[in-house]
Amino acid sequence: MKNGTSHIQINIDVPLWPDGPVVVNQLNGTVLYTWVVMVVLVLVSYLVTRNLSSRTTLSRGQNLLEVLVTSLKNQIREVSQQDPGPYLPFVGTLFLFIAMSNLLAIIPGFQPPTASLSTTAALATCVFVAVPLFGIASQGIGNYLKQYIQPSVFILPFNIIGELSRTLALAVRLYGNMMSGAVIGMILLGFVPLFVPVVMQMFGLMTGIIQAYIFAVLAMVYIASASQTHHRPTARNQSSSVSRTAPDEPQHPTSHDSQSLTHEGDL
C-alpha cells in the first residue's frame, strides 16, 4: 500500500535500490525473493542429499524428500502414462518453486515471487517452450508439427491460439490467485487487523499449494499431450489411473487439452 487506503497496489517488481549500480538498480523483490526460494530449496536439498543412505533406515530429511520426489514421480506417471524421469526436473521444479514461494508467504515481510506477473509469465513461457521441446524430443519434429493441422489444416490457427491462450491462462491464473490473496490480506489487515488476516494467511497456504499443484499438473498435461500422440493407444490399453480424462476422451491432443482446460476452468 503505497498511496494510502484509496489505492491498494502490490508491485514487487519495483527496484529495491533504484539509485544503485547498473546491475543492482534493476534488482527488485521478485528476483530477490526468488533467490531466497532457490537458496532454501537448494540448501535443503544439498544438506539432506550429501549424506544419503541407501539402507532401509533413513534420516527424516531424506524420508521427506523421498516422499516428495516419489509423489511427484507418481503424479507425473499418472498424468503422462510414461516414465517420469525426463519430466521430473522440469515439472518437479515448477511445483517446488511455486509451492515454496507460496509457503514462504506465511513469513511476515516475504512477498511470494509468484505474486508477480513477470514470474508467472516467465514460468508459463518456460512451459510454452518446454511443450514443443518435449514433444519434438518424444515423437520428432514432423509428427509434432503435424498435430497442429489435425484433423484439418483449418484447425491450425485455433491450435496456435489455444497454445498461446493456455500459456496466458497459466500465467494469469497463478498470478491472479497469489496476488489476490496478498491483496485481500492487505485489505483485511486494514479493516480487521486481528485474527482474520491469520486465517486468511492459513487459507492462502492451502491456496498456494493447490495452485502449485494445478500449475505443475497442467504443465505436465500439456507436455504429455504433446509427446504421447503415438503412445495414446498403448496408454489407453493400460489400466490407467488418470482421473482427469474422461473414458470417452478423444485421441486428438488438442481435444485432450480442451478436456484438461475444462477441468482447469473448474479450478
Binding site: S45, T49, T56, Q62, L65, E66, P89, T119, A122
Partner: protein
C-alpha cells in the same frame, strides 16, 4: 499489472538454474538412492529366496538322509535282532546238546556204575552162594561141593550127543592141543584124577590135561580145547539173580526220576 521484461528474463534464467540445481542436488541423488535401495532390497529378496530354496533343498536332503538312516537303522536293527535270535537259537541248541551230552554221559556213567554194581553183586553173591552152599553141604550131608560140581560136569559130558562128542574128539586129535580145565577152586589130586578119568572115559585118552584155577568162574568148571568149550557153573542162576536186581534197580531209578 504489467510485465517487467528484465524481471521476466531473470526469472526464466532463475528457473532454469533452479531446475538444474535441483536436478543436481535433489532429484538425481534421491532417485539414485531410492533405486539403490530398491536394488538392494531386490537383491536381498533374491538372496532370501535363494537361501530359502537352498534351505528347502537342504531340508529335503536331510529328510531324505534321515529316512535313509531310519531305513538303515531298521534294517540293522532287524538284522541284529535276527542275528541275536540266531545266536540265541544256536547257543540254546548248543546248550541243549551239551545238556543232552552231559545227560547221556551221566546216563552212561550211571549205567557203568550200575553194571559195575551188578557185576560186583554177581561176584559177591556167587561167592556167598558158593561159600554158603559149601558149608551147608558139608554140615548137612558131609558132602563136598567141589565134588558135586565135578559130578555135575561129568554128567554134562555124558549128556553130550554122540555126534557132537565125535566131532569134539576129532577136533582134539587134529589140533594136537592140550586140554585145559579151569576151575573156580583148587582141585585136590583126587579130584584132578577123577576129572582126568572122566575125560578119558567120555572123550579120549589121547590128550594131555592142564588144570588152572580161575576164581572168577565162581563155583564152576570149564573145559576148553580145539575151539570147544564145555562148562558147568552157577552163572545162569546168578544171571537170573542179576536180572532181578537189575529190574528192581531200574524201577527204583525210574521212581527216583519221577
Amino acid at each position: 499489472m504489467e510485465i517487467n521484461w528484465t524481471t521476466f528474463t531473470a526469472q526464466i534464467i532463475n528457473f532454469l538454474i533452479l531446475a538444474w540445481l535441483l536436478k543436481r542436488f535433489l532429484y538425481g541423488p534421491i532417485v539414485r538412492a531410492m533405486e539403490d535401495r530398491e536394488k538392494k532390497i531386490a537383491d536381498q529378496q533374491d538372496e532370501v529366496i535363494f537361501a530359502r530354496q537352498n534351505a528347502e533343498q537342504e531340508a529335503a536332503e536331510y529328510r531324505k538322509r534321515k529316512e535313509e538312516l531310519d531305513h538303515t537303522f531298521e534294517e540293522l536293527f532287524a538284522k541284529a535282532g535276527y542275528e541275536v535270535e540266531q545266536w540265541k537259537e544256536k547257543h540254546l541248541q548248543q546248550a541243549r546238546e551239551e545238556v543232552d551230552q552231559a545227560r547221556k554221559e551221566w546216563y552212561r556213567s550211571i549205567e557203568r556204575e550200575r553194571n559195575t554194581f551188578l557185576h560186583d553183586l554177581r561176584q559177591r553173591a556167587g561167592q556167598q552162594v558158593y561159600s554158603m552152599t559149601r558149608r551147608i553141604l558139608t554140615k548137612l550131608c558131609q558132602a563136598s561141593l567141589e565134588r558135586q560140581i565135578i559130578e555135575a560136569f561129568a554128567e554134562r559130558l555124558q549128556q553130550i550127543h554122540e555126534g557132537k562128542r565125535n566131532e569134539i574128539v576129532a577136533a582134539i586129535r587134529n589140533s594136537h592141543d592140550r586140554l585145559l580145565i579151569e576151575t573156580a577152586f583148587s582141585l585136590t589130586d583126587e579130584d584132578a584124577r577123577k576129572i582126568e578119568s572122566i575125560i578119558h572115559e567120555y572123550l579120549t585118552d589121547e590128550i594131555e590135561i592142564d588144570f588152572k584155577v580161575v576164581p572168577e568162574l565162581i563155583c564152576g568148571i570149564e573145559m576148553k580145547t580145539a575151539g570147544f568149550k564145555i562148562a558147568w557153573s552157577v552163572d545162569e542162576t546168578l544171571e537170573e539173580l542179576e536180572g532181578e536186581f537189575s529190574t528192581a534197580l531200574d524201577a527204583a531209578i525210574s521212581k527216583g526220576r519221577e
